[in-house]
Symmetry: C7
């Protein structure tokens, strides 16, 4: 274990910033999240790691509103994420006040990315251990989905996933991106997100949290019964397909 | 013992913030506390670790008032907790002054959580070694119970426990959450909290401290004689049940 | 010897703040002090570690006035204590000026406790190596006795002891707390404090320093001749009791 | 691994600043970029390391505008580069405001170089892990191409390359610099840049990003179909030349 | 050698502040100094460690004036002492200006003690390696003699010694304190101080420096010839006593 | 490798400042530079380490103007040097503004030397890894040539050299200083500088950069063709001399 | 090599400040300097370590003017010394401006000593590696000669020496101090200083630098020819004495 890991502001001899990579590791230990942008929808979903019968669900939610037109979720350290969310919400409010129009999704993303980068370059601070998925609509109703990493890097995506167990989810997203993005209605889009999450874990519907955002409409959480129905339906479809594949293989 | 433990602002290679986890360890060494939220009550209880005949009981109390409508208890480092309590009390006062209405329970919880998170990210500071249970009523009389961790994470709970020996307590809470939350009167709710505490330690009534908060009423400590009566009753009930179980087993 | 001892702001893996515990160790090396609160008296006493024929006694005194109605003594690092005393005296003065009434005993205790806690959480500072016994009267003449630790923890006591050799003293205090607190007059109260000190060391009267505070009266040091008389009397009583016990044992 | 690597502000005994050299290493791991300055054009090109079907291409672009007349690309840490770009863009804006004429290309280069040098000399900061290619036109239409290193060193170039796999690219540039700089039209210049990139990697056109800047014209990205055509043409030409060389060799 | 020695602000596990103890060690290496307070005199004396024929004696003097009515000497690091002296002199001047009466001896002592304590508790500073003997007269002509340690501890003394070889000096002072303090005239008092110094070293008169302060009179250095006379006389008396003791022993 | 190398502000036990010596090492790795002061000329020359066909020569120049009447060159870290040059240029401008006459060569030298010394004494900074040759004319036309080291030491010289391979150059300068300083015209002076450089490396004229400064005239770079002519001539002369020496030896 | 050497602000367990001692070591490596104060003269001399034919002698001078009536020389780090000289010169100027009379020699000495002490007590700074000899005249024409050490200690001297090879010089000074101080004229005083220097090194006159200061006269450097004459004369005298001693020994 070399000393290059020890301080944010030090490169290892091969040009790595190890603390940033370790923060990324904290993200890789976070719960799996999925984001999708269709032509008139933002859908975000995530697998909840533990359900506690004593917990009040509302405060355990990880998909949150930054402004009426922008929502965000994350993988990684929850306490860090709450701080980023709070700062993003304040920035969104103050942007509205100062410029008399809402911040764009890209503006909010850049705001978070810059904050994160600064924490990778100054001594006495550690990088935020959080990857953020930021989605929303611009004034003309154009949907956008961005992701920022602990390093401060960010890109725009039509769909993306991060956190634990993301590999099979990503595979699903890449295979179905065309049909997903073109999903004619909300039902289809939500089903894609649930199906993506079900590729890596096969849990009960209560282990998932899905939210939908439409232009000029408030964010809505997908209801428990609809979610249960979808999970059941998808599991059945997957079982049928598996059976079909087996028959195919036997022929 | 690696260097990743050494400074708050350093991740270990697998993405952990060890100082935060060690602060959590200080919580796990604290006295067991229990919080319960019924539809019109907040009940908090804790096992006192040591009773000193020379001590004046009032200052040894660990269930304290943040404002008329919010109470708090904690597990972990007492000196740290007193600082957090003092800051929360000031914030509550200044909120009332500035906004001309009392702070909500969630506002006070976020205030404490943010304070804690900041102490996990800046160099030269150590995290607060305290988990806080914050309970109270909102303006409309809605009861809330929150818990914050040293990391700054917080959730809302219908009932929760933290500190030393919390496992059997949690088990009791999870099994009885439905009947607890629905407890028709104060007597029942307090008895549930005492019974929860008695699952892990079987001490004299003087080793417990229980407080009750009702909407628009001042916090009340459960009187010593009532507490003694309850402890005695529960121990008897437990003994009877054990006897019943044995008979059952012999059949 | 692990690195967790090294800096105040670091937890050990099992959740300890070792520097605070080492500061407590400095207290445990301090001279034994005793405090007693009866219904109308505060009595403080201590064993002086070394008497120097060249020293002027006044400046060697360790029981000092914070304000007319509050006195304080301590165990631990004398230079640290003098700083705390000075700061408490200033705070008491400024409280009187700003609020036009004297600070309560609890206010002064909280002031010292908060100061101490801050020195356990910020890097670049060490905790104060001092435990303080603070006693006095509130406006209505109610007596109070508090003790603060290096960690910033404080409690109220009817009687307490700290410093070197405190175990036998504490035993005496706990056995006699009821009669001590109810002592009808000053003579009895002082005698209790001297007897408590004599449980651990059997020195000449010149090795002890005792002070008495009454409501609306200035602090008084117990005169040397009275102290000598008490020490002699107690030693005699102890000898007689021992003899009685031996006879008892022989029967 | 000696301690001289550990802190920016320390020389190794043989006079090296190792952290600066490690930051340079981060550049050497970046994607290959190429810049070219002809008498009336700036052309920049780069090989994209990974194409993700889910990504929105626009935000993944690495050739960006600093001002209407200055563009920039980079090799190295993307998050660092974004910060430098943002600061350069602000500086360019504020220069225009304060001096009522646009900043020269050299002014912007010096601005970035100075910023970088400062980060190599002050403790508590790490050097920027980025090499920048800055190109543009001065007021009279004179084209300039500069490159800055993590150390803060900068030079002007007629053509240059940095990042991963730069050796064969550099060889191509050096051999063809005369004809490149004299390229009579945009098509020729772009083809040179693509051919340079194709010396080290033989990928699909979608793996390349090329931008062109002319005096008093906005920056233009080379269209995907033209790029595809050029890549195909060059590959064919290379194949033919190889065949010719083989025949030559056989004679 | 453990790390607890390393930084001022760290306790060793047994509650010691090692840097303060090492500073005390610097005092123990200093030249022996003696202070005496009779009912109308302050006498200070010290053994000079090295006499240099090239040196101008005035600047080598170690007994200095803080104000007209207060003098000071020291053992330990001379450069540190000069800084403390200068700060004390300034404070004395500014006290006179602000309060229109001279500072008391105790005020100046507390000023120096507080300064010293602060240097034991803040990181990035080392304790002053100096013990100070401060003597003088209060407004009513009351003489005082104080000593401060590197830790910031201070006490008042009728007579005291510090520095190298203090043990025999202290023994002499303790045996003769009564007659010394009651010395009817200056000659007797000075002789006591010289005799005290001669208990540990038997040097030439030029190796000693003695100063006398009387109420409302300027400090006077004891003249070289008187000093020589006293040294000679004392040596003779000592020799005679030794002879007498031997005869006594032979009887 | 001891820890004394590690921090600028630490002496090694034998009184060395190793970081300053390592910075000097960075100078010793720099390109060889030569400065010459005749009675009416300043000539500076240097060997360029690498010529790049892609580079624009102007920005690669290492002999720069500080003010109209002062020029400077350097050996060591180029990025550091550029910062020093910029600061010197600003200082020269502001001096002219504030005092309404140009700064003297010595003033500018002291400015650079002081800056360098400060970076050797404060923690958190590293010394500048640069030796500067500063030459120019004072108001009356008096020529001056100074050199500053990383330590902040500076001296005036009639001719001097620093950087890589300086030993043979220095030998040449010392042998010919009299005739050099007295060189009646520019041609002779330049030839001396070129010959000095050619003692250590025998490269093509394009590897050298020579500049000339006259009183009240702008700095001029020696033209490529003249330089080529001189290099060729000197090489020939050297060859002839060698031949002569051989013949001499054979006789 | 223990850690106590490592930081200025740390004592070693036996009470030493090692960094200050190492700075003293830098002084002990400096060139030998000598100062002499006669009743109407200050003479300073030093042995120059290296004479460079290319150097301009003026800037290599180490005896410098602080003000018209005060001169200074030093042993140790030249760059540090130049900073101290500059600060002393500024202080002298500002003293004259503020108080309308020149600073005394002692004032300037205290100014330098205090500056040096501060650099031994604050973290992040290293002590100045310089010993200063400061000589001059007070308003009434009284000559003074002071020396300050890296620790900040200073004393006044009639004559003194510091730097490399000081032992034999000191011996000479101590043997001849009476006749030196009483030297009736400048010639005698200068000869004494040269002779002192010649006790440790037997070099050519060009290796020495001697300056003379008289009351209300500018500082004068002893001319080269006079110096050469004196060196020659003294060497001859020494040879003769040696011969005489040998003859004496043979008898």
């Amino acid at each position: 274990m070399s000393k290059y890991d020890g301080a944010v502001t030090i490169y290892s001899p091969d040009g790595h910033l190890l603390q940033v990579e370790y923060a990324q590791e904290a993200v890789r230990k976070g719960s799996t999240v999925v984001g999708l942008r269709t032509k008139d929808l933002i859908v975000m979903g995530l697998e909840k790691r533990a359900v506690d019968t004593l917990q009040v669900e509302r405060t355990a939610r990880k998909i949150v509103k930054i402004d009426d037109h922008i929502i965000m979720t994350f993988a990684g350290l929850t306490a860090d994420a709450r701080v980023l969310i709070k700062r993003a919400q304040s920035e969104a409010q103050s942007h509205k006040l100062n410029f008399e129009r809402p911040a764009t999704v890209e503006y909010m993303t850049r705001f978070l990315a810059k904050l994160k980068q600064r924490y990778t370059q100054s001594n006495g601070l550690r990088p935020y251990g959080v990857a953020c998925l930021i989605g929303g609509f611009d004034d003309q109703g154009e949907p956008h989905l961005f992701q920022t990493e602990p390093s401060g890097i960010f890109y725009e995506w039509s769909a993306n996933t991060t956190g634990r167990l993301g590999a099979t989810v990503r595979e699903y997203l890449e295979k179905n991106v065309a049909s997903m993005v073109a999903s004619p209605d909300e039902h289809m889009a939500v089903k894609h997100v649930v199906r993506a999450l079900l590729t890596c874990t096969s849990l009960d519907a209560s282990f998932y949290e899905i939210a939908v955002l439409k232009h000029r409409e408030p964010m809505r959480m997908v209801k428990a019964d609809l979610l249960a129905f979808l999970v059941k339906q998808i599991k059945q479809e997957n079982a049928e397909e598996e059976a079909r594949n087996k028959r195919q293989a036997l022929k």
